[in-house]
Every structure is written in structure tokens, then in C-alpha cells.
């Protein structure tokens, strides 16, 4: 039984950061759906190491917002067990660098349960984790490995890039009947504020969001890189280069129609992601366009990505990352081709 739409609501516009939006969406769902349980390391009393769950345990109690022992395989595994038995667990993994013990549970169980039981059972859960570099963090705290999860059949991977999308997409993820890995770009957790209406309205999953209309070139990106990309687009506009910027938002499954329509219009495609290049989600976007939109292309596709290296520790992390100038140069080169 769902309460979210049935409950009378007062729409309140609140200025919030991306992380506030996560907290607000979690609070909404905890408030409106008794099946929702938040669990993870330090999410209760401490409110999460990034404060994404701040105040939630005080408000909803220690049964609904649970501090767990330190074991990520356990967290994912018990979430699957709960989900299969009618709850909607929303586990937090403290950093993406510690998500790997969940991989076994996700690929072997969460993504397969519905299929294996021919629909008798399912796994409605949302595994949240902050990810990405650029915050001067210690080792294992800066990687972007969304492609690992995008490669898992039966799992949705969602990455918000603004407070409004964090709010709306997290609500949608929690209400989705299947497992979602919800990755939060922590570099932009507090980068800017936006007015978001706390009205319980979800945004659609499985669609891209066009952040900027343009006619010369399409740039597909997601997460924190939307910021560098939009800046590059601003810069290029001064040279009369018109970029269309698309936020992939749902990394898997990909809304290829929006991308193909855009490429049909612009004839050129640059893909920007912070994750390592090889076998990254950018490769999938490029493959889709090669398969379904090749004849629209006037130039080869370019990728601006992290390098295929271990994420450098923070003294050199920015040299790993795609930057405004790397993106702008790639756009110019693609236009010259």
C-alpha cells in the first residue's frame, strides 16, 4: 500500500543542496510509506558521514533508520532479504570505495530474483552511495565505478546532478519495483542550492534530462561532470558554438531516444565522464549511437574521461579528471573534423 500520493500535502518550496534533497526525499518516503527502512554504517545517531541521513533516526526511530554493523555484503544481503519479504530497504554504503562486497549480492541476487522466480519474488530496494573525486579525500574515497553496476542485468543505476533531480529521482527509485543503485556525486553535494518543492513528486527514471539546448554538438554526461560540461558549453557559446548538454541521469538502462534525437539534430557527439575510459558507460553511449545513429554523425565521437589508471591520491586527482578545457578542446576538435 502506498501513501505518497494519497496523503494531502502542503507544497513547501525549500532552498536546498543536493544532499539536503537526498535527506528530504528519504524523509518523505519514511513518512509516507511504512515499508521504507534506511540502514547502513553511521546513518543513525551520526546521521551519515556526509550527513545525508541527519535527523532521520531522531524523527523516525531506530527501527526505521538503523545503524548496522560494519559489513557491506551483509548490508546488501539483508536488504535483499527484507525487500523480498515486503519491505523497501534503502541501504547506504558509506563510500563507493567500500561497495564492492555488495557486488556479489547485487549481481547474484538483487538483479536476478524477479527473473529466477518468474516474477514470484522481487527486490524493491535502493542502494545509495556517494561517489566521485575532487573533494581531497583519502585513498579509496574518490573513484567512479558506475559502469560495474551498469553492467549488471536487472539493476537500475541512477545518478542525480542537481538538488531537484536528487529529490525527484530518489523518490522514483524508492517507488520503483526493482533494485536501484543510486549514486550521489559527492563533489556537488553542497556546491549549489536550488528551490525544490517538497511535495513527494517523483521524476521519471529511464530518461535523460536535457540541461541545455544547442545545435552544433551534443554532449552527454552525468553526475558532477555536468558542471564542467555546462561551463565548457558557456565558454564555447562565446565562440558561437552551440552545445546541447544531456544529463544521462539513468545510467542503466539508457534512454537512447533522447540522445539519438539530439545527434540527429547536431551530427556530433562528445561524451564526458569522470570514470575511467575503457568499458565506461561512455562506451555504451557511443556504441548505441554507432549502431542506431551512425549516418547522422558528421564526425567521429569523442570521449573526455578519467584515465585508465588507479584514481590518483588527491595531490594529483585533478590531473586525472576531465576539466573544462579538456571538454572544450574535445568539442572544438570534433567540430573541426
Amino acid at each position: 500500500m502506498r501513501f505518497s500520493t494519497a496523503t494531502p500535502m502542503v507544497a513547501i518550496m525549500v532552498e536546498m543542496t543536493l544532499i539536503d534533497a537526498v535527506t528530504t526525499a528519504l524523509a518523505w518516503e519514511l513518512d509516507h510509506d511504512p515499508r521504507v527502512v534506511v540502514l547502513g554504517e553511521d546513518v543513525g545517531v551520526n546521521g551519515g558521514v556526509f550527513r545525508a541521513t541527519a535527523g532521520l533516526q531522531a524523527r523516525f526511530g531506530a527501527d526505521r533508520v538503523q545503524d548496522t554493523p560494519l559489513a557491506e555484503g551483509m548490508i546488501a544481503g539483508v536488504a535483499i532479504g527484507m525487500a523480498a519479504q515486503g519491505m523497501i530497504p534503502v541501504p547506504e554504503i558509506q563510500f563507493m570505495g567500500f561497495i564492492y562486497p555488495t557486488v556479489d549480492q547485487l549481481i547474484s541476487h538483487a538483479g536476478r530474483l524477479r527473473n529466477r522466480t518468474r516474477g514470484r519474488m522481487s527486490c524493491p530496494m535502493v542502494l545509495r552511495a556517494p561517489f566521485g573525486g575532487g573533494i581531497h579525500a583519502p585513498e579509496h574515497h574518490s573513484e567512479s565505478t558506475e559502469a560495474l553496476f551498469a553492467h549488471m542485468p536487472g539493476i537500475r543505476v541512477v545518478i542525480p546532478s542537481s538538488p531537484a533531480r536528487a529529490y525527484g529521482l530518489l523518490l522514483a527509485a524508492i517507488r520503483d519495483p526493482d533494485p536501484v543503485v543510486f549514486l550521489e556525486p559527492k563533489r556537488i553535494y553542497r556546491l549549489n542550492k536550488q528551490n525544490v518543492e517538497d511535495n513527494g513528486k517523483a521524476l521519471p527514471l529511464d530518461v535523460c534530462y536535457t540541461l541545455r539546448q544547442g545545435s552544433d554538438i551534443t554532449i552527454v554526461t552525468w553526475g558532477a561532470m555536468t558542471f564542467e560540461t555546462l561551463k565548457a558549453a558557456d565558454q564555447l557559446a562565446k565562440s558561437n558554438i552551440s552545445c546541447e548538454v544531456i544529463d544521462l541521469a539513468t545510467i542503466s538502462p539508457i534512454d537512447y531516444e533522447t540522445i539519438l534525437e539530439s545527434v540527429e539534430k547536431t551530427g556530433r557527439l562528445v561524451i564526458v565522464h569522470e570514470a575511467a575510459r575503457s568499458c565506461g558507460v561512455g562506451a555504451e553511449v557511443a556504441a548505441i549511437v554507432a549502431e542506431k545513429g551512425l549516418y547522422d554523425l558528421k564526425a567521429p565521437i569523442r570521449r573526455v574521461t578519467g584515465y585508465d589508471v588507479v584514481m590518483p591520491l588527491f595531490r594529483r586527482e585533478m590531473d586525472y579528471m576531465p576539466s573544462v578545457s579538456k571538454i572544450a578542446d574535445a568539442v572544438r576538435e570534433t567540430l573541426e573534423d
Binding site: D67, P138, M318
Partner: protein, 362 residues
């Protein structure tokens, strides 16, 4: 019905918090030189740690995990080890690493965001810091397998926290180590907290030492603020291991006197009174008192030690601060022994953008 298995867990302490012997002092502690050596290292660790926190606060170091209060556990276990044994630490065991010859400047480099911090000049075979909790326990077991296969009289020691005992890897490591009688010691540093999660929420187990029972290996709990107890029992465990008798779990009970890291604010989740009470049990005072009581230590020696230690720390801090950044290509050059061709193009790209690009990330 009959009882077919049961267990007991022993607790050991030799020096009480006031520095008075609470049990028969073991052989090692009759050697005043050894005690002074450990005391020096504990003080050095404390001074280093304080300095590192200052560096972080003044923007010269990244996030840092303080080892305040863990000095006896760290120094005691390292002092028990032989030079060619292998340490597999987590991220907090500076006392142990420094004792084994890691440089302070290396530890600072690591937390300063520079990979060269894990390229030890000293103990070449020791594992680097390990942040993914408890994964290092398996590496210690693996190292011990290597020693066993080659017939070497060497041992491995892994260190993990109370929180780490909840991870599968911790059990998996103890289990194979027990099954194969591997020469490994699992040191568990029970500092009562895993970030904000207290030990009572971590496990229903009365001790962490008893987690050894299911792996069929001995476990003992020691006062982790008593360096004599830590060293004595880790020495005994290592002697057993070296003798082919297999692994041991040594739980050292101490307290995390600091925040979890400099990015943490422990006042959110734990009571001041608890921390104040824990300060009364801290490890330096009792050893200093004991040394003074046996006539081996005095104000003058203390002053001289503090001066010497401060000078060491300053020199290492300078070395750290003077270290230029690694070149950009370093991120490629250690990926494989031989750089694959496809990476050369990326390497060139990175160099081309180089330092000049550093500020343009908004």
C-alpha cells in the same frame, strides 16, 4: 545431553592505569632497556600524531586518522615482531609502523595525498595502509601461506579494529589460518568505536577474542593500554606461530581518544564523560610511572626525550613539506611493469594538460 565444546577467554594486564603491577611482571619487562625503548616510541607516536592533526588543521595535510590512545597497542605489537615478519596494518597503526621503520614523512605523504607515502624506505615487505576494512586480514593469511610453503620461520601480523571484526574477510582469514595452522597473528584493536557505532551495536559477542573460537584458534583479550601485556601476548602468539602451532587472535582493549578522523565530530555521538573516563586509562602515564617507580625514569630524562622527539618530528615534517608533487605521468607509470600502448596516448594527454589545467575545475 552433554557439553561437547566450551570455551574460556582470558584477560591479561600487568600494569594497572596507575602504573602499579597488577600481575607478575613477565620476563620482557625485567629488561628496563626494552621498556624505555617502547616508551620512547610511544611518546614519539603521540608527538607525531599531535603534529599531524595540527598540519591538517592548518591545511597542510588531508583528512587524518589520529592514533591517540592506541600507542601501547601499536608499539607493543610491533616490538613483539621480528624484523622480517610482515605487518598488514589498517590505516591507524602509526605506532607500529614507525617502530618497524616507516618514516613519519611517509605517513604524512600518504595522508597528504601522495602515493609515495606507501613506498616505504624501511620495512620493504610490510603491506601499505589498508582502508577497505578487514581486507588486510586475508593478505596476512596469504603472506603466512607463502612463508609456510617456503619453510621460512617468518610470521604475518594483521591489525584491524572492532568494527572490522564484523566483516566477512576477518572470519575467512581466521578460518583458513586455523585450518592450515598458518603462522599469523590477528591483532584486533578494540577501541570501542567504529566511527559512530559503539561496540555494543557492532556485536552481541562479549569479547572479540572469542571470535577465534569458531575458527578453532586461541583468542586472548589483553589491556591494550598496557604495552607490556600487548607485547608479551603477541610475542607468545608469534612464538607459537613460528613453531608451527598456528594462528592466534589477540584482542587489545583500548579507546579511541580522538575523533574517528579529522573529518569526524565525535561529540555528535558519544558522551564527554566517557572520553574523560577513558583518559584516565591512557597508556603513556602508567608506563612512565612504572619506569619512575623502578628508578629508570625522571623529569630530566622526560624533558630530554620530548626535545629529541620534537626535533625528529620537525625534521620529518620539513621533509614532507619540501617534497615536490610527483610528476603527472606517475599516475600511469606504476600501473603495470610495462606501460601498455593504449595508455601511452592517455599519458600524453594528461601531460599535455598538465599543471596548467589544475585550477580550471570550478
Amino acid at each position: 545431553m552433554e557439553t561437547i565444546a566450551d570455551f574460556e577467554i582470558q584477560y591479561s594486564q600487568f600494569l594497572d592505569p596507575a602504573g602499579k603491577p597488577s600481575a607478575d611482571i613477565p620476563e620482557l619487562a625485567r629488561d628496563t632497556g626494552k621498556l624505555i625503548d617502547m616508551y620512547r616510541h610511544m611518546v614519539q607516536t603521540r608527538v607525531f600524531d599531535t603534529k599531524a592533526i595540527n598540519l591538517q588543521r592548518t591545511g597542510k595535510l588531508g583528512t587524518y586518522a589520529s592514533c591517540l590512545g592506541h600507542e601501547a597497542t601499536h608499539v607493543g605489537l610491533a616490538a613483539a615482531m621480528q624484523k622480517d615478519d610482515v605487518l598488514a596494518p589498517s590505516y591507524r597503526e602509526y605506532g607500529a609502523m614507525l617502530y618497524r621503520g616507516v618514516r613519519m614523512s611517509e605517513i604524512l605523504l600518504y595522508w597528504g595525498g601522495d602515493e609515495r607515502g606507501s613506498d616505504f624506505e624501511g620495512p620493504k615487505h610490510d603491506f601499505p595502509f589498508c582502508v577497505p576494512i578487514a581486507t588486510q586480514c586475508l593478505h596476512a593469511a596469504g603472506a603466512a601461506m607463502a612463508f609456510q610453503l617456503r619453510g621460512e620461520a617468518r610470521c604475518a601480523v594483521s591489525v584491524n579494529g572492532d568494527g572490522g571484526t564484523s566483516e566477512g574477510a576477518f572470519y575467512e582469514a581466521m578460518n583458513i589460518a586455523g585450518a592450515r595452522k598458518l603462522p599469523v597473528v590477528f591483532a584486533v584493536v578494540n577501541n570501542k568505536w567504529a566511527i559512530s557505532v559503539p561496540i555494543e551495536l557492532q556485536t552481541a559477542s562479549k569479547t572479540l577474542a572469542q571470535k577465534a573460537v569458531a575458527a578453532g584458534i586461541p583468542g586472548i583479550q589483553v589491556d591494550g593500554n598496557d604495552v607490556i601485556a600487548v607485547r608479551h601476548w603477541v610475542e607468545r602468539a608469534l612464538a607459537r606461530a613460528r613453531n608451527g602451532e598456528g594462528p592466534t587472535l589477540v584482542e587489545a582493549v583500548t579507546y579511541r581518544l580522538s575523533d574517528h578522523t579529522t573529518a569526524d565530530d565525535a561529540s555528535r555521538y558519544r558522551k564527554k564523560a566517557e572520553v574523560e573516563a577513558a583518559w584516565k586509562l591512557e597508556p603513556l602515564i602508567r608506563l612512565r610511572q612504572y619506569l619512575a617507580d623502578i628508578g629508570a625514569w625522571n623529569e630530566k630524562k622526560e624533558k630530554a626525550l620530548l626535545q629529541e622527539v620534537a626535533a625528529n618530528v620537525d625534521a620529518e615534517v620539513q621533509r614532507y613539506l619540501n617534497m615536490p608533487k610527483q610528476p603527472i605521468e606517475a599516475m600511469f607509470d606504476y600501473m603495470y611493469r610495462d606501460l601498455p600502448e593504449f595508455l601511452e596516448e592517455q599519458r600524453d594527454h594528461a601531460i599535455q594538460y598538465g599543471d596548467s589545467d589544475g585550477g580550471h575545475h570550478g
